[in-house]
Every structure is written in C-alpha cells, then in structure tokens.
Symmetry: C4
Subunit: 272 residues, 4 copies
C-alpha cells in the first residue's frame, strides 16, 4: 500500500487510527491540541509586522506565509489562517502543534503548507521563525543547475550555499505542495542546518533564530539572487564571497541583527 493510498484509506475508514499514523495528522480530523497559552504581545506584533513587511518588500505576494515559534512552548508555532500576508492581523493567527494541527482553527481556512513550518520547527530547535515565499528572483535558482551563491556582504548567511529541495526526489509526481508531515520532513532534511532551502519549481523556505532574521534573510537572499544574475550576465569572471569572509560576517554579527532594517520596514507598513 503506498503512503497516499494508506492515508486515503485511513481517512475513509477510521479516524481512531489517526494518531497511530506515522505520517502526522495532516488532514485528519482529530481533537484539537491543547493551547500553550497566549502568545506574548510583542511577538504578536512582530508576526503581524513580518507578514506585512514581506508583502511590502515584494518577497510574498498573495501566497506564501511566515510563522513564529510559540514563546511559551517550543512544541507550538503560530501562523495566520489562509489569508494574503498583507492583510494579516492579530485575530487571524492560529496556534499549531508540530503535526500541523491547529489549536484554535474555529472553522477557518488554513494554509495547506503549514507542514513546512511544523517540520522545520521539529527538526531545528535553533529556529524560531520560518518564511515560505515564492520570491521571483529565487525561483530561477531553484530550477537551474547554476547554484545561488553569496555575492555580497549582506548575504554572508549563505556562505555555505543554499540546498535545493526537489519534491520529485522524495515524493515523485505531486502537486508540488508540501501539504503533509512527510513532505515537510523531507524538506527539513534537505534544509539541514542551513538558513534557507530553495524549493524546485516552487519557491524557498528561510529560517532564523527570530523574526527579524528570517525576514531579513528572505529580503537579502532575494537581493543576492538579483545581483548574482546581473553579475553573471555581464559575462566576465565573478568573485563571490570567500567562505571565510562569510564566516567572519556571521561572527561579527549578521547584518547587525537586522535591527536598523527592521525599524524601517516596520515603520513603512505600520503607518500605511
């Protein structure tokens, strides 16, 4: 029995078997997990801001999403209901467990790809914020044999390269969406200990120890891609950051923790 068939079977025949299913709770109607309590108000504010910033900066359009790990329980994370990021407010946030089951869905429509977030939070205890985006300039590097490389100091965080997740390798022919725990886990495995993973024919997932990092890395990863494409188009030989330069950039404080940028980005979206 294939995994998909098995899931369909489970769905059709026995909800009681659901928790025993290794693939996680995707799509299975279960009792909602218990809440970890209210998210800290500063984190709520930052998560709402992160949604709007990424839309304003052109990293997210109507699709894609950004989440934060819950500040009271590392087994929970918070993500908007299915909504364009530019429109997200505090009341749209849903708390999830690491199987992608919502605490307070209340019948609202959900992002089908919340498993990207869930499985990365499960695999990476150092990560407290995740962005999933279809940023235009990054998709070419996810479908090309030409690798994305750190070309300037703002992209020191990718000094060790950016892996590419091809969903076809782990799941064969799909609708390209990471919409269950299995696919999320496969993605998290390719991400490894890196700050970002390109998703072939789809987009990117970017992570960080806090929202300003995940947001800032998303923005500068996108700029790095544009700069690299332009540099390659000039035809001459291109000098990339040396891995040691990238390391030193990270050691000396990655882009000053994006504080200066975060203040600007937040101001731009919050006074609109």
């Amino acid at each position: 029995m294939t995994k998909t068939n098995r899931r369909e079977f489970l769905r059709a025949t026995s909800l009681a078997l659901a928790t025993a299913w290794a693939g996680g709770g995707a799509g299975l109607a279960q009792q909602a997990p218990v809440s970890a309590g209210a998210l800290g108000p500063a984190l709520v504010g930052d998560l709402v801001a992160a949604n709007r910033i990424l839309a304003d900066q052109g990293v997210l359009d109507a699709f894609g999403h950004v989440s934060a790990r819950h500040d009271k329980n590392p087994e929970r994370f918070v993500l908007s209901r299915s909504l364009a990021p530019a429109l997200v407010t505090a009341t749209d946030l849903i708390e999830y467990d690491l199987d992608g089951r919502g605490v307070n869905v209340k019948g609202r429509s959900e992002y089908s790809e919340r498993f990207i977030h869930a499985e990365i939070y499960r695999a990476r205890r150092d990560v407290n914020a995740v962005v999933h985006a279809h940023a235009l300039s990054l998709i070419p590097f996810g479908v090309s044999t030409t690798p994305l490389r750190a070309i300037y100091h703002m992209a020191g965080f990718i000094g060790e390269g950016v892996p590419i997740f091809d969903i076809r390798a782990s799941s064969g022919m799909t609708d390209m969406l990471v919409k269950d725990s299995n696919k999320g886990r496969a993605l998290a495995q390719v991400l490894g200990n890196k700050p970002a993973v390109l998703m072939r024919g789809h987009g990117v997932a970017v992570v960080g120890p806090a929202l300003p990092f995940a947001v800032g890395r998303s923005i500068y990863l996108e700029l790095n891609a544009r700069i690299q494409a332009q540099a390659m188009a000039l035809g001459g030989a291109v000098t990339y950051l040396d891995p040691e330069e990238a390391r030193k950039i990270m050691e000396s404080g990655e882009n000053r923790s994006y504080e200066r940028a975060w203040e600007l980005w937040k101001r731009k979206v919050m006074t609109k």
Copy 2:
C-alpha cells in the same frame, strides 16, 4: 472579391445583406440585439474589480480589456466601452452578443477587438471570463521560437503549453488587430482548449471559468514568463514542471481558486 472589399461593398450598398454575411456583424450598422437583462450585481462588481486589478498588477496598461459572460444568457457577454481599464466603472459596461454587436452602445466608443471575446465565448462554453492584455513579459514569448513553459507551481494551468496565434498565418498582412469575427474565430481556433494563447507581436488572451481565474492566470502567466526568462539567462540547464506535476496541481485545485489572491487584489484597488 477579397473579404475586405466585400465587407466595404456590403457596408456601402446594402445593410439588408448584413445578416447574411458570413464574417459576422463587425462594423455593420444593425438593429441592436435584445438584452439578456441586467447583469447580476456581484458579477458587475467583479468585472469592475477585474479591470482595476489587472491595471494595478501591471497586466493591462491603457489598452487591453477584460470581459465576463452574461450570467443570464450564455449568448451574451459584458465588456467596458473603449476606456482604460483602470478607469472602468459599472456605467461603462456594454452588453454584447457573440457577433460583437452591442445591446446598449448608445453611441459610445467601443473596443475594436471585442471579437476576441465574442469568438472565444462562442467556441468555449466552459469559459466565462476573457482577458486580452499586452503584458510586457509575455510579448517576447509570442515573437520568439523559445516556447513559454510552466516553470513553477503557480503556473500549473499551462502544463500543456501555450499556443501562439500569428495573425499573419490566417489573415496575411494586417494592422495586427483582431477586429472582426473572422479574426476572432481564427484566434479561438488556435487557443483550442487551452487557458491562454499568445498573440505574435501583440499580446495574449487568457480565459477562465470565472473572473478570478482569468485574472489570476493572467497575473501568474506573466510572472511565469519573467521567471522563465531569468532562469534561462542563468545559463544552466532548467527543470520545468513535469506535465504530470502540472496535471496534479490542476486536480488538487488550481491555486486554491485564486480566492486568497482575489481578496487581496480587490482590497488594493477598491480602497484607492
């Protein structure tokens, strides 16, 4: 007698012969067809929104247009008078029959290319919305031997490719405009059962089962073109969506029916 000469002749000599003319009613002064009744108010709202959304998203500039099939009679469709899409309001809408004859023109100037819409509605009973655009990134693929291909999951709807209509093939040397029923029919034939057709040296026609689909496909077709051009420019080998991946994307619900995007796009243009 050439077709053009024949039409000129008909125009000059005998309006009574008009309905007998095989080429349709283009340019012929005839009694206006009977109205199918008032368009549903929700559809009016969506059609006005579609005009403004496509302008706001950069798919349409001062030219190009978007129509909807009448919700009370499949032999009618609704299109603005000749006006830049960004300026269209409910009072600008004209009801047309499938020969491109207006029910309520009232002396207003008309889009000369309304036959694109008319003939597609005639040929494709599954289509309820049509966009005709000169989107910048799509025109290159209409004049190049390099085919436009689905490069990411948002463009699963073109998994079977996008045909190119070269008006020269069917009509010889023209002013490039699809301004009579014959030319519209030739275009509809090349479109076939596809969601879009590139028009060589001109633009594109995009169709859908409802306005959000035609609008959403126009927007993501344009993004796919930009991504593909950039991916090809990187010089490496490019992996496109597998036709089966595209099929699965369509089966699992094309871009969630564009609902999330439609809400955002509409909000953006309606609060301006």
Copy 3:
C-alpha cells in the same frame, strides 16, 4: 574660420551682425522676438500634462523636456524654463522662436538643449510636439550596433526603423549636448521624416503631430525597447513586425490616436 570660431568672433565683436548669421541666434544676446500671442488654454493644459505624464511614466526624470508648437504661429514653440518636468506649471512656459530665442525669458534659466526642439520644428512642418528624453531602455539601442525594431503592434510608428544621431559624426568631440542651432540642425537631418531619433550616449528625440502622439510614442517606444531586449535574451529567433504590418497599423489609425491612454495618463497626474 570654423563655424565655432566664427560664432565666437561674432559674439565678441558685433551683435549687429547676429541676425545675418546663418547658424541661428544660439547664445547671442539679442532683442527678444515678438510674441505670437497667448497659447490656447487647452494647449497650455496639455503641455503641462505632457510634462507630468512623461515624468510619471518614467520616460523623463529630472532632465529631458517636452514642447509644443505655438497654435497661433508655426514659427514659435513653447517649452518650460529649466525645471524638472514633474514640477512644470503653466507659469513656467517660455515662448521660443526657431532660433531658440525666448520671447519671455525674464531672466529665468533655460534648457540648454532647446535647439533640439527649434530645429525639428523648423525642418518638420508636420510636427507639432517634440519630446527629448533619456529613457533608460532606449539608451542601450543608441550605443549598440543592434538596431531597435518594431516588435509589437503598439510600435507600428517605427516600422521603418529608428535612425541614430551620433553627435561625434557631425561635431566631433563635444559635451554631448545639442545646445546650439548647428547641432540641432544636424540632429533634425538624421531624424529625417521619422517619428524618433536615438541620440548616441544621450537619449532620444520623439516627435508627433500633436502632444498625445509625441507622448504616446515616447512611452511605447520605451516599452518596445524593453520587449525587444527581453525577446532577444530568450535566445530563439525573433519575428518583428513586417514593414507592411507597421504600415497598416498606421493607416488604420495609430494606436487610436492615444486618446484612451491620454485620458488615463492625464487623470493619473492631475489628481495627484
């Protein structure tokens, strides 16, 4: 005695000889020419709008300018004082004769390249509006051996190609500016009977029978350049408009006289 030396000599020795000088009155302190009378108010409004439209559409930045031939005397034209086009109002307009001498300068700073306009109006009696711009996408085609060609129906007006004026060919090493009648005349000669002339390492001059034409051609010439560059970058063979197609486009009414676009463009800048 070279032309330049002769002019310097004239300037230094005898203002009385100025009107007898074949090269025009450029830079010569003379009595201001007599006014042709007040410009029609509609033309004033269109000229102010043209300035702002071209800035809003990204054809002009802080530099470049647009003029109209006087509606009461074909030997006069109207141009703003030296000012960024986005800021031009009716009170900034200066009336000039075809030697580039201002009727009502009143000590205001002038565009040094007004001779582009003057000499084109002198050479082309069919022209009633002139744009001089440094539009980004056009400059590459002015410095490259790759010719700009009509690639889509909106650019039918350049079906016979766009000549390139290299100021070096007629004037040797210069500061690149067309700032006297001689240089303006050389430019007008290269323009010939065409709607536009690229200026090597500088920009473009675009003309039309009325402001909406000169403005619309400037905008669509810029778009054509972007489309052509992108089409060429795709690597495949490119099909351009056939000269006969371009001719038919012009015969059937060039872009519907830009009326639909003019209404939109004007609305955009006048409600700001």
Copy 4:
C-alpha cells in the same frame, strides 16, 4: 603581533596608549573631540534631504549612509547615528573627527563604517560629501572583471573609469566592513582622485564637492550601470563615451550642478 591583535591588546590593557596608536581611534574609548560648533542650518537641511533622497531613489535601503564635511571645520564631518537613511532627522546627526570619533554620540548607536567617510575626508580636501551605498546595479560591476564605463552623458564624471576596492587585497579575510581607520585609508587610496570607488562584494563610495554632487553622482552612476548592463546584453558592439567627451561634459558644468534634479528630489521627499 598582528594589527588586530595589537588593537585588542591596546583595548584590553591601556587606554592611555590609544592616541599613540597609528591605526586611528577606531573602537577606542577616548575623550570625545571638541565640537566645531553648530552645522549651518542649510547644510543640516541638505544632509537630512540627502538621506531621504537616496532612500527614495533606491540607492540606499536600510543600510548605507551619507555624510557632509562640517562647514566650520574641515577636520570634522557629520553623519547620522545608526539609522535607516529614510528615517534620519536633524536630531540624529553626529559630528565626527577624522579618526571617526564622535563629538556628541551620547550613547547612541553608530554606523560601524563611518571610517569610509573619515578617511576620504582626510585624503581628499576637495570632497565635502560622501555616500556609501549597496545599490543593486553597482555591485555586479564590483565583482566582475567587466569594467563599469561611462555610457551616457549623465555619467561624464566617470570618464576616467571607476576603481575597485577589494578589501581582501589590503586586509585579507575580513567581515567585508570598513570599520576602522586602516581599512578606510586603504579604501581612500584606491579611490584616489576619482569621484567613486566600487567595493567588491559590498557596494560603492561616491564623493563630491557638495551634497547634490555626491547624491546626483550616486543616482546617475547607478543608472549608468543599468544602461551598460542592458547595452551589453544586446550583443552588439557598444560605443562608450570617449574620454574627451567625458572631459568636455565636466568642463561645461557637470549635469548643471544637479540643481534641477536636486529641486525635484528634495520636493519628492519633503512633501511625503
């Protein structure tokens, strides 16, 4: 003992030795230098405007900065505290000496790369304004063997080319930042008597005799880079400005001292 080790040693052991240290006062806690007095109010206004203009024009994002030499003492310059340029107001300005020591820091966070400014002001007595930017279109030319060249008349100021500073050449593996006097001096040496220096994998420094020049050159350098990249992409041979043409442009008054543009740029940011 390496330079870095020596500095660390100094810092740890003896502040009294600091002024004797040849590398300048970077990072050393010292008594603040004496102020040169209040900056002229017009210069304050121009410096605030310059910050906002460069952000508005896309030359600076959240990072990068612009400074002006003090109008009362050439040994001092003025720069914002660590803040995104778009947000800078008069109260954010800090006065610095040429060792990068602030007169009135008052505990505020500082730009770590103020030494770019300090050392250029020390080396170039003709310079009264300095911009440091990460403009997207310029970074490719800083990492490529393809040189940036003057391609149109607005870029006459780089007729003699733009040198590239590779921090690796003078300082080996670093975090890429010019954050002490030694690195600033190395940069100033590569800049030489030129108006701009590209910084490999980082950005650019642009200088001028006054703020409108440094700002205007930054903007047009960026445009020149875009035009050159596009011209090269057309595949044909490219004609650049002849050095003599560039010289004549400078002699006849570089871009009319950017007065017309400055007025526009300032208006745009000050009415926001």
